[in-house]
């Protein structure tokens, strides 16, 4: 650009300075007139006639096109050519000046006071500078709107300084250098600008002397920011100013405006009651200017209110967080000192109360109090020692879970949460101990169980006493006998058809011995005897048992519920540990509900819980590397399966069941919704409702591949057969992971034209007052861990607690007989073989839609020890034996 101008000035210099000055002045005026016409339209969107329209080709004395400039540079050396060119220029200038005089009279530049600050959109779309021209009207000068000028800021001063510097240098003697010097001098006396709406890129020169000052784009941004702040649109203002703070943080007025705005924002949010947002603004302001007037006091007030609010909500960690936040920026603030003292005093008071409660034998109360003290002020003097002492005597474990027992009470089957708590509250005669290629059992009650008479009889010998850590009472053979008799008595509500088909009778041999007579020898005895012991003479059995139901009091209790609330349940030992033990074990389990895995992890990291039960695989990955935690895999993966209601009329059509199966892209749902990682090995597709590693799994079966066209064909066939298919109802438990997958499943079915709606049990619909109606459902999304498929497959298929023949009434006859055959298997090998055959037949019959299995894990803080050294079958396996060491979060929140 400069070169173009230079070539033009060189031609003028050849004709003499006086002549040059005259022509230039005329030319400059002309240019200004033209520019004024354009600039006056800069912020006017109306089309209108362009007074300077004839100047589209450029004024003779203004600038030259860059292309023409490059062409003319070589001609600089040839005098005749230069002469000819200067003649042309002179002629053009005189023509332009004559014409522009006329135009100028028609144009008017906007005046400064009439100019409005551009809007945010305008500022973002088209940055402009305002050249405030020097004129007669000093109070309201004319303004020329141009594209951002350079150099900036202080453009005029910088140009002037450069000019002065140039003048101080000795005048060159060499003609070439002198020309160059002249060119530079002329350049420094002019400001080259572009018009905002000029698409041709025409450059204009404005003599610096004609410019009073420049209002830069940045100034306009700051002004608009100020206006937005006045309108309390702090978010918009911050967004507007943020780029400016990044590019030109030292721009005059920017910092001042930011501070003012932060304070205004803080005040506005505080007035709205949002103290946290107010604190954030104030902290930000503090970071910029710690001594800002009024900031100190406001910081104290806001922090005070926040701490008080957190304390009222019993969230001491949050209170400490606000306090620490203030202390970081104002360590000597009076509010910091005040709350330091208050919290410390509070913690010491609580510690004293805890000690007192422990001294009186109220250990659970003492534990709760000392835990509270640790959360109020973990650095309190002597707290750690007292905490350790109380925790050694009364150990508790806080557990985080996404579903609590009873959340899905409207469902006709027990969820994993229900099963978990049932196992915590009671124990069976035989419990599953380990699962590898087979299921291994153990009994807390029995010392020996010996089959005799070729398996037709069994002698049970009960333990005389129990270990100090066990939470149970000593039971006699009488209790066991009455329980067994109730199970085989058809008149008893606890009657168990399957059990009764095996057990013929029971005979008491002594207080600790009894003999069971089998009508036929079971392939394995232990799975049959998985029931709790109930009180003598009670008609019910297995209250809440997984396989059987009853309403009698259970004698084989472990833990009992106390103080249930909406989001937490506390379980305490049914039989507390006696005084004077050398080593105490876990005494209390507190389950807390969290609505997402993220919140569970947050609670774990904050120290609110020390164990997580149902974290999905994608969330466990980060915790596996954390050395503060154990990540313990379950022995049995969690199987997800879609189950059909045996009483659903439409689903009796095999074509429809097949259509439902083919319509699902199960691999995609698994990758996207469950694992959230296509490469994860934590989940795999399955063909059974039990684990792929189970003895009952028939590995020869191949899965049905996803095929939308097949689904459409089969659905059409089903419609043809059934005439019409009402919308099916898919019921899903409350678990967020299952809900997400279920929503995707419904969407996939919809794509092939199968209408399915997602329903929830009455208890989940938030209307506890109304009588829960029986849940109507066609398909169920279930998550399960089948420990012993031999005895659990029947209850699964019938969605029933027992293995009653009446419950398989609607099943095909061959399936009913095949289920009976599994029960009647004479030996273990036959049982396994029959189960695998049954698996194949069920899959062929589409009795359910198997989805996938996922390797879930338990996360445990490392202050817990003495848990089983093998993979967990149930979350609270042998929990009475666990030792929880004293630990509380001491980190600064």
């Amino acid at each position: 650009m400069k070169r173009a101008m230079g070539s033009f000035d060189i031609s003028l210099a050849l004709r003499g300075r006086a002549r040059l000055a005259a022509i230039l002045s005329v030319f400059v005026l002309t240019v200004i007139g033209l520019l004024l016409a354009r600039s006056s339209l800069a912020f006017q969107d109306g089309p209108g006639p362009r007074p300077g329209g004839t100047r589209q080709k450029g004024p003779p004395g203004a600038t030259k096109d860059p292309q023409s400039r490059s062409k003319k540079r070589p001609k600089k050396e040839k005098e005749p050519a230069k002469e000819k060119q200067s003649d042309d220029v002179e002629k053009a200038a005189s023509d332009e000046s004559k014409r522009l005089k006329d135009l100028k009279s028609e144009q008017k530049l906007p005046q400064l006071l009439d100019m409005s600050v551009p809007t945010v959109a305008e500022l973002n779309r088209r940055p402009v500078d305002w050249l405030v021209l020097d004129g007669n009207n000093k109070r309201n000068p004319e303004v020329l709107v141009v594209k951002p000028v350079f150099p900036r800021p202080d453009t005029l001063r910088k140009l002037s300084d450069a000019l002065d510097e140039l003048r101080k240098r000795p005048r060159p003697t060499n003609p070439d250098e002198r020309d160059k010097w002249e060119t530079q001098k002329a350049d420094l006396q002019k400001l080259m600008v572009l018009l905002p709406d000029d698409g041709s890129g025409q450059i204009y020169e404005i003599p610096t002397g004609k410019i009073d000052h420049i209002v830069y784009h940045e100034d306009l941004v700051i002004r608009r920011g100020g206006l937005l702040a006045e309108e309390k649109k702090f978010r918009d203002a911050l967004e507007l100013l943020y780029p400016l703070e990044r590019t030109a943080p030292k721009w005059k007025g920017l910092e001042d405006l930011s501070r003012r705005m932060l304070l205004s924002e803080a005040e506005a949010t505080l007035q709205g009651g949002d103290y946290l947002a107010g604190l954030m603004s104030l902290v930000e302001l503090h970071a910029r200017d710690p001594g800002y007037p009024g900031l100190h006091g406001r910081l104290g007030d806001v922090t005070d209110k926040l701490i008080e609010s957190a304390r009222q909500a019993h969230d001491d960690r949050e209170a400490r967080h606000y306090l620490a936040r203030l202390a970081r920026i104002e360590p000597n603030h009076e509010t910091v000192e005040k709350w330091n003292r208050a919290l410390q005093t509070d913690a010491q008071t609580l510690t004293a109360s805890a000690l007192k409660a422990a001294g009186e034998g109220h250990y659970s109360e003492a534990a709760a109090t000392i835990d509270r003290a640790a959360r109020v002020w973990p650095k309190a003097v002597g707290l750690a020692e007292v905490h350790r002492k109380i925790c050694e005597r009364y150990q508790w474990l806080s557990v985080g879970a996404m579903t609590l027992p009873g959340d899905d009470s409207g469902l006709p089957w027990p969820t994993l949460a229900d099963q978990r708590v049932t196992r915590l509250e009671q124990f069976d005669l035989f419990d599953v101990d380990r699962v590898d290629d087979a299921t291994h059992y153990r009994s807390r009650l029995l010392e020996e169980w010996e089959p005799t008479d070729l398996g037709r009889r069994a002698l049970f010998t009960l333990r005389r006493t129990h270990a100090s850590w066990e939470s149970r009472q000593d039971l006699t053979a009488t209790s066991l006998m009455s329980t067994i008799r109730a199970l085989i008595d058809p008149a008893s509500p606890a009657y168990d058809e399957r059990f009764a088909s095996y057990v013929d009778g029971v005979q008491l041999l002594s207080a600790l011995e009894l003999e069971i007579r089998f009508s036929r020898a079971p392939p394995r005895m232990e799975p049959l005897f998985r029931f709790p012991i109930t009180a003598t003479g009670s008609v019910g059995s297995a209250a809440g048992s997984l396989d059987r139901s009853g309403d009698g009091p259970v004698l084989s209790r472990r833990f009992q519920r106390s103080t249930p609330s909406r989001d937490a349940i506390v379980f305490r030992r049914a039989f507390p540990q006696p005084e004077g033990l050398d080593q105490y074990r876990l005494a209390e389990v507190d389950e807390h509900r969290y609505d997402s895995p993220q919140h569970e992890i947050q609670a774990l990291l904050r120290g609110d819980v020390s164990m997580l039960l149902d974290l999905p695989p994608w969330a466990i990955g980060s915790l596996r590397k954390d050395t503060r935690f154990f990540v313990l895999d379950y022995a049995i993966p969690t199987t997800h399966v879609l189950q059909f209601n045996p009483n659903s009329q439409p689903l009796k059509s095999r074509e429809l069941r097949l259509a439902l199966s083919y319509a699902l892209d199960v691999q995609r749902i698994l990758s996207q919704r469950i694992l959230r990682n296509a490469d994860s090995s934590a989940g795999r597709l399955s063909t059974a409702p039990f684990a792929t590693t189970s003895y009952a799994y028939n590995g020869v079966l191949t899965r049905r591949d996803f095929s939308a066209s097949m689904a459409v064909s089969l659905h059409a066939a089903a419609v043809k057969r059934l005439q019409s298919i009402p919308p099916l109802r898919l019921v899903c438990e409350r678990d967020p992971e299952a809900q997400s997958a279920a929503a995707e499943i419904v969407a996939q079915w919809k794509r092939v034209g199968i209408a399915v709606e997602l329903v929830q049990p009455e208890s989940l619909s938030g209307n506890p007052q109304s009588d829960p109606r029986p849940l109507e459902w066609d398909i169920a999304y279930r998550k399960l861990r089948m420990e012993e498929p031999l005895v659990e497959i029947w209850p699964f298929l019938t969605v029933n607690s027992g293995a009653r023949l009446e419950s398989v009434r609607s099943a095909p006859d061959w399936l009913r007989i095949e289920l009976l055959d599994v029960d009647r298997a004479p030996d273990w090998k036959s049982a396994v073989s029959r189960l695998q055959t049954l698996h194949a037949h069920l899959y062929a019959e589409v009795a359910y839609i198997p989805l996938w299995e996922v390797d879930d894990a338990i996360v445990l803080r490392k202050n817990v020890r003495d848990f089983p050294p093998f993979k967990f079958v149930t979350p609270y396996q042998d929990i009475e034996r666990w030792i929880v060491q004293s630990w509380f979060p001491e980190d600064e929140p």
Partner: protein
Amino acid sequence: MRIGRTLALLAVLVGYSVPCGGAEEAAPLGRVDYMPYRVSLSVAFSQDAEITNAYRRSVCSTLRTRLAQTFGATWIFAPGAAVRLNDRLTPPDESGLDRLSYRDAAQQLSGFACDKAYFLTIGRQGPKWRVAGREWDRTLQSLGTIASETTVDRALVPDAALTAVERLFSPLLIVNDADRDSKSATLTIRAGSIPFGDPNFEPLRGGDIFRPVFRFLDSKRAVRSIQSVPWTYLVLQPLSKGQSQVKASVVSSYRAPLAANMRRRVEVVAVRVRPELSETHLKLAAGRDPPQPQGGLFVSISELSTPSTGAQSSTKPAAGAPAASVEATQLKLLSNRRGEVTIPVNLRHPIVRLEVHSGAAILARRPFVPGLDAEATLEIADDRVRLGTEREIDVLESQLIETVARRGALISRTRAALSRTDTQRAQQLISEVERLPGGDEYFAQLNRIRVLALEEAHNRKDRVAERRIEDLCRKTLERITQYLSDDRIATFKEELATLTNANKVATELQNAPMRRAQDSPPQNNAPLRRRSPDELKPPVKKPAEERQVRPPSL
């Protein structure tokens, strides 16, 4: 009227005066209808302060009078066997009756020549008096079920005892003849020609149910063995008072249950049965050594209409029995793991038809009177082989459905490819269709199932199962033939070949050196050419539904 009463009284007096030992002799030879019952009746009183000796004697005396008034000459008591005190029943209550066996009762009755004997117990049950009794029958060599009556009034105990005896009394009928075609039998009522003391007393009514019993005699007419006819009942047709010969419908699961044994040394006796219980546990078992309980089978219970079921019947269950009476016309019960079903008594239809189902087959169809016995056993054929075949075929059909659907989907895609003249894709899709398991594969699978099942059934010598397996396989074969015929693929192949040839010809024409210019008017467009009526019609568009992909109906 008066003459009738006088005659009746005379008959009673005559009957009473006739010595018991000569009762049979007194009857005309071969006239069972003139042969009265020789009866013995004993009463055992429970130990109670209110039951004194005088009261006992009073009860016995009154009861004897009532019996004489009611039964008249149809009953005669052996000397000393009339209503007497029983001190041999231990304990002297209902449980003692329950323990009583035919042999024990026969021992107690030694010395008394009687055809029927009644053992009654009288005792208190709270504020009520309870009379219970049991009938002993020498002809059938059986001991009947217990019937009981209660009363609150001490003085009415003899009347309650009489009512109990009336209920216990089972008249004996001799089957004279049985007609196989009409399924009816002619019977003679023992003592049927002798009038009862109480003319209103009607122990037999139309619709009463009898159980036929064969009495096999030796050359000396002594009873060699007694055998009841299983699953066979006689339903009495309406009869009039004083009628000694009656007709009854034969209800049986056999074609001629009585005719086969109507021989000289075989007596066919019918004894009335009356459901005293509210239900019967029927056990289904297969095989005998040992019997295998058949759990998980459906047993349907439906009414059994006989010509005489509408008539008034005295076979109606006892007052306390039908607590579980069922009004529904059909019940579908499922046998439990022990192979048992509990069949309730139906008030309106005491005799029912029960059918045992196994899958699509009916294993047994029997008439049955629930409430007669607490437990009964029905022996059925072991249907495992056939049911296993049914399962295998079910699985095969499931695979067949999938194949048909997959084939349908591929064919529709082939059709779509053909419609847009994408021969390559169509060829590819037809290849995929051909790769699917075809009819031959399914035939082979079916044959394998069939042969294995037939072999097993043959080994078990189960001809019925063999026939049923053949039926099952035949039906499946028809389905395979219907849905997996190769005609459709052949049609598509032809269509594809035509299209391919057409394309080929078009390409060759395109490249022919002497081909006609494209702008030359085709012959058909000659202005003066006559057009056929078909050409003048607009092309008929297929309805949208027809053009859509239609899955093959399954």
